[in-house]
C-alpha cells in the first residue's frame, strides 16, 4: 500500500479531532510495519547474559530487530542498554547467549560484517586535533578505502548533519549539539546498513535534537536499520517503530507504542480544575463507564479511565448537569513512562 493511501485511510477513520494530529505518524508507522512484515532479521540476540562480578547487567535478554525498522531500546540509566550494545558490537565479552547480525555471528575480527555497522556512541568520540571534516574523513576511512568515494561520502555526511559552515572547526569550538551532530556524522558517513545510536541526544539543545531525530528518520527512510537507545521516552515514541522496554537487564515489554500502551490499564487521564466537589459526586464519577479511579485534591479532579472513547465528554456532561463550574480541562493519553511505571512500579526518569 502506498504511503498516501494509508494516510487517507487513517485520517478518515477517526472523527475525533484528538486523533487527527496523530494521523500522519500513524500512517508512517503502518507503512513501516508493512515493510517490516516483508523484511529479514537484522539483529538477533538470544538469551544474552552479562555479569560484572555479582551484578547481572544483562539477564537473559532476547531481542530481534528486523531490517528496515527503527528499534528503540528504552530504559532508565543503568538498566543495561549500553552493556547490551557493547556486547552486540563484540566489544564486551558476555557470559552466555548468541548474537547474530544479518545472519552472521559477530566477532571482533569479522571485518566484513563490521563494515556494515555504524556506531554512534554515548560519549562523543572524536579527535580534538582534527577538524570536523578531517574527523569524518578519518572515521569514514576506517570503512571505505577508496579515496574518491570516501570524499563523496564525507561531503554527503557533512551536508546531512548540517555542519557545512563548521567543516574547518575543531571540536573544542563546537557547542554540545553540534558536537553530537559531528559524532553522528562520524558514525554514519560510510552508509552502513545497521546504525546503532546510543543516547545520541544527551545534553543537546532542542534545535539540534530535532535535527538529529529527523536525520535518523531520513536514514531509515534510505534503507538503514536503526537501533536507538534512550531514556527519553518522547524521542523513542516519536521515531521508533518498535520499542523494547528494559530494566535491570531484562526485557520487560516489546512492541509498538500502541501495543505497549495497551498493556496497561490506564488509557486516558483527565484532569479538571474545579473549586469544590462532594464525596457523592466523586463516587458518582467513579461509576461512569471506563472510569476506574477518581481523586480530588487541591481543587484538581483527576479521573483515570481504562479503555473506551469519549470519556471526557461523559465527565463534562456530569459536571454540567450538576452545574459545577470548572476551569482548566486536560486529557492525555498514557505515556511510555506510565507503561514503565505500571510494569516496574517506578518512574522511567528515576
Amino acid at each position: 500500500m502506498s504511503y498516501q493511501v494509508l494516510t487517507f485511510i487513517t485520517t478518515n477513520q477517526s472523527e475525533n479531532p484528538l486523533y487527527f494530529s496523530h494521523a500522519e505518524q500513524a500512517a508512517q508507522r503502518y507503512h513501516t510495519i508493512w515493510r517490516l512484515l516483508m523484511a529479514n532479521t537484522a539483529v538477533k540476540i538470544e538469551n544474552l547474559v552479562k555479569r560484572y562480578g555479582e551484578v547481572i547487567a544483562v539477564d537473559h535478554l532476547n531481542l530481534t530487530i528486523r531490517e528496515g525498522e527503527i528499534f528503540g531500546l528504552l530504559g532508565p540509566n543503568g538498566c543495561g542498554k549500553t552493556t547490551t550494545i557493547n556486547c552486540l558490537l563484540s566489544l564486551l565479552s558476555y557470559d552466555k547467549g548468541d548474537i547474530e547480525i544479518f545472519g552472521e555471528e559477530i566477532t571482533p575480527t569479522n571485518y566484513k560484517l563490521k563494515s556494515q555497522i555504524g556506531v554512534v556512541m554515548q560519549n562523543v568520540a572524536v579527535f580534538d586535533e582534527l577538524t570536523v571534516s578531517e574527523n569524518i574523513d578519518y572515521f569514514c576511512g576506517l570503512y571505505i578505502r577508496d579515496k574518491a568515494l570516501r570524499k563523496q561520502y564525507v561531503e554527503e555526511a557533512i551536508a546531512f548533519v548540517g555542519l557545512e559552515h563548521f567543516r574547518k572547526f575543531y571540536p573544542k569550538k563546537l557547542s554540545g549539539g553540534l558536537l553530537r551532530r559531528l559524532n553522528i556524522a562520524c558514525g554514519i558517513a560510510h552508509k552502513p546498513k545497521l546504525i546503532i545510536l546510543d543516547e545520541p541526544t544527551v545534553a543537546v539543545d532542542p534545535q539540534s535534537r530535532n535535527k538529529i531525530l529527523e536525520g535518523i528518520v531520513e536514514l531509515n527512510r534510505r534503507g538503514a536499520t536503526i537501533l536507538y537507545t534512550s531514556h527519553y521516552m518522547d524521542e523513542v515514541e516519536q521515531i521508533c517503530s518498535r520499542i523494547a522496554i528494559i530494566d535491570q537487564g531484562k526485557n520487560l515489554a516489546l512492541g509498538t507504542t500502541e501495543e505497549l500502551k495497551k498493556l496497561i490499564k490506564k488509557s486516558e487521564i483527565i484532569t479538571i480544575d474545579i473549586l469544590t466537589l462532594t464525596e457523592e459526586d466523586i463516587a458518582a464519577i467513579r461509576q461512569l463507564p471506563h472510569v476506574y479511579e477518581v481523586s480530588f485534591d487541591q481543587h484538581k479532579l483527576t479521573v483515570l479511565c481504562s479503555g473506551g472513547q469519549h470519556n471526557l465528554i461523559h465527565v463534562l456532561d456530569y459536571l454540567q448537569k450538576k452545574s459545577y463550574s470548572f476551569g482548566y480541562v486536560h486529557s492525555e493519553l498514557p505515556s511510555l513512562n506510565d507503561v514503565f511505571l505500571e510494569i516496574t512500579g517506578k518512574e522511567l526518569r528515576d
Partner: protein, 381 residues
C-alpha cells in the same frame, strides 16, 4: 594505512605544547650539561696548589726551600708556599688552607688531610712532586759521592727533561672524554622518552580505556594495521624532533656526538623506535589511564637511564663488572653504547650488535603489545 599515518601526523604536529617540550628537552638539558662541563677540572689542574713547608736546618731543608721557592715564583706558579713550623702547618692543613704539608729531611715527607676528597687531584700531584724531589735529591747526592765530576752535567740535565713516553690513541676519536658520555646518555634518555607517544598509541587503541578507542575498535579496520600506522607516525615524529636536538648538540654545542654521522643518525632512529615500542608495550598493560601509564613509563625509564650512567658516570662500567647482561639488554645502555662505539672503534661489529639488539627489542615489544590488544573483547568497559 597511509591515511592512518597522515592523520596521526596531523594530530601529533598540531599538539604544539607536546611538540614544544619534546623538542626543547634535549636542547635545554644539553645546554645545562654543556655549561656544567665547561672548563671542568681546568681550575683544578691549572691552579696553583697551596702547600705548607716545614724546613729543617740542614742541607735538605735548603734544597727543598730553593726548589719550592722557585716553583712559587712568577705568574701562575705551580705552588703557593707557606713556610712555617710543624704546628702551624698542621693548623693550616686542618683548616683546609693548604692541600698538603711537606716536611724536609733526608727524605721529604708529605702529609695530607683525610677530610677532603675535593683536593684528591692536587694531593696526587703533590705526592708525585715530592717523590720526584726525593729521587732527584738522592740522585744528586749519590752522583756527588760517587761521580762528582759529572755533578754539573747532571744538574744541567735537570733543566732538560726527556719525554720517554708518548700517547697512542687506540680509539678513533681521542676527543671523546669522560663527559661526552653524559651527552650520549642524554640522547638515550630523549629517545626513551618517546615511550610516552607509544603509551598514547596503546591507550587510544584499547577499547576499555576510552570511548574513542572503543569507537576505533568496532570499526572495520584491522587493529594491528591501525596500531602499526600510528606507531610509524609516532616514531617518525619523535625522530624528527630528537634529530633537531641531536643537531643542536653536534653543530651548535659541538660536543662530539656526531662521529660517523649516518650511523649516529641510525642510532638515534633505532633508539626512538625502541622508546616508542617500549611505551606501547607498557601502555597495553592493565586498565589504568594514560596519566598512570606515563608515570609507570617514567618509573621504568629513570632506572634504565641511571643504570646506563646518566647520573653517576661510571655506573655502566660498574654494571658491566657486576652484571654485564644488564648492559646487553638495557635499551638506554645500548643506545649510549652505540654512540660511544662510533667514536671509539674503527669497525662496526659492536655497533651492529647494539643496533640489532635494539631492533629485536622493538619488534618484541610491538609484537607483545599487538598480541595483547588484538582480537579482544573486554570484560568491562
Amino acid at each position: 594505512m597511509i591515511q592512518i599515518i597522515f592523520c596521526s601526523f596531523k594530530r601529533l604536529f598540531r599538539n604544539t605544547t607536546n611538540m614544544f617540550w619534546i623538542l626543547i628537552f634535549p636542547i635545554i638539558l644539553g645546554t645545562f650539561f654543556y655549561i656544567a662541563f665547561s672548563n671542568l677540572g681546568a681550575s683544578e689542574s691549572m691552579s696553583t696548589i697551596p702547600v705548607a713547608v716545614v724546613l729543617t736546618d740542614d742541607y735538605y731543608g735548603e734544597a727543598l726551600k730553593q726548589t719550592v721557592t722557585q716553583l712559587s715564583e712568577g705568574e701562575d706558579p705551580f705552588l703557593d708556599t707557606t713556610f712555617c713550623s710543624e704546628e702551624e702547618a698542621r693548623k693550616l692543613l686542618e683548616n683546609g688552607d693548604v692541600c698538603g704539608m711537606i716536611q724536609s729531611g733526608s727524605q721529604a715527607k708529605l702529609s695530607i688531610s683525610a677530610n677532603t676528597s675535593a683536593d684528591n687531584i692536587k694531593q696526587s700531584i703533590l705526592a708525585a712532586f715530592v717523590e720526584e724531589f726525593n729521587l732527584r735529591c738522592d740522585l744528586l747526592i749519590d752522583t756527588m759521592q760517587k761521580h762528582p765530576e759529572n755533578a754539573e752535567k747532571v744538574i744541567s740535565a735537570f733543566q732538560n727533561p726527556h719525554a720517554f713516553n708518548e700517547e697512542v690513541s687506540l680509539q678513533k676519536n681521542p676527543n671523546v672524554d669522560t663527559y661526552t658520555q653524559y651527552f650520549y646518555n642524554l640522547l638515550a634518555m630523549a629517545c626513551l622518552y618517546a615511550a610516552m607517544a607509544g603509551v598514547t598509541v596503546a591507550v587510544e587503541n584499547q577499547g576499555n580505556l576510552s570511548t574513542l578507542a572503543a569507537r576505533k575498535t568496532v570499526s572495520a579496520r584491522k587493529k594491528s594495521s591501525m596500531i602499526i600506522g600510528e606507531l610509524i607516525a609516532a616514531t617518525i615524529f619523535e625522530f624528527v624532533l630528537n634529530l633537531i636536538g641531536f643537531f643542536y648538540l653536534s653543530y651548535i654545542l659541538k660536543v662530539g656526538v656526531d662521529a660517523q654521522l649516518p650511523y649516529a643518525v641510525l642510532s638515534l632512529f633505532t633508539g626512538v623506535l625502541t622508546g616508542v615500542s617500549l611505551g606501547f608495550f607498557f601502555g597495553t598493560l592493565g586498565k589504568k589511564g594514560k596519566e598512570e601509564k606515563d608515570g609507570l613509563i617514567f618509573a621504568v625509564i629513570m632506572p634504565l637511564c641511571f643504570l646506563s650512567g646518566l647520573m653517576v658516570g661510571n655506573m655502566r662500567v660498574l654494571i658491566d663488572r657486576v652484571a654485564p647482561v644488564v648492559n646487553r639488554i638495557n635499551p638506554a645502555a645500548l643506545i649510549t653504547d652505540s654512540f660511544y662505539c662510533l667514536s671509539i672503534f674503527e669497525g662496526h661489529a659492536r655497533y651492529t650488535r647494539n643496533i640489532v639488539t635494539l631492533l629485536l627489542l622493538s619488534i618484541l615489544f610491538i609484537g607483545l603489545g599487538i598480541l595483547k590488544t588484538r582480537r579482544s573483547r573486554y570484560a568491562s568497559i
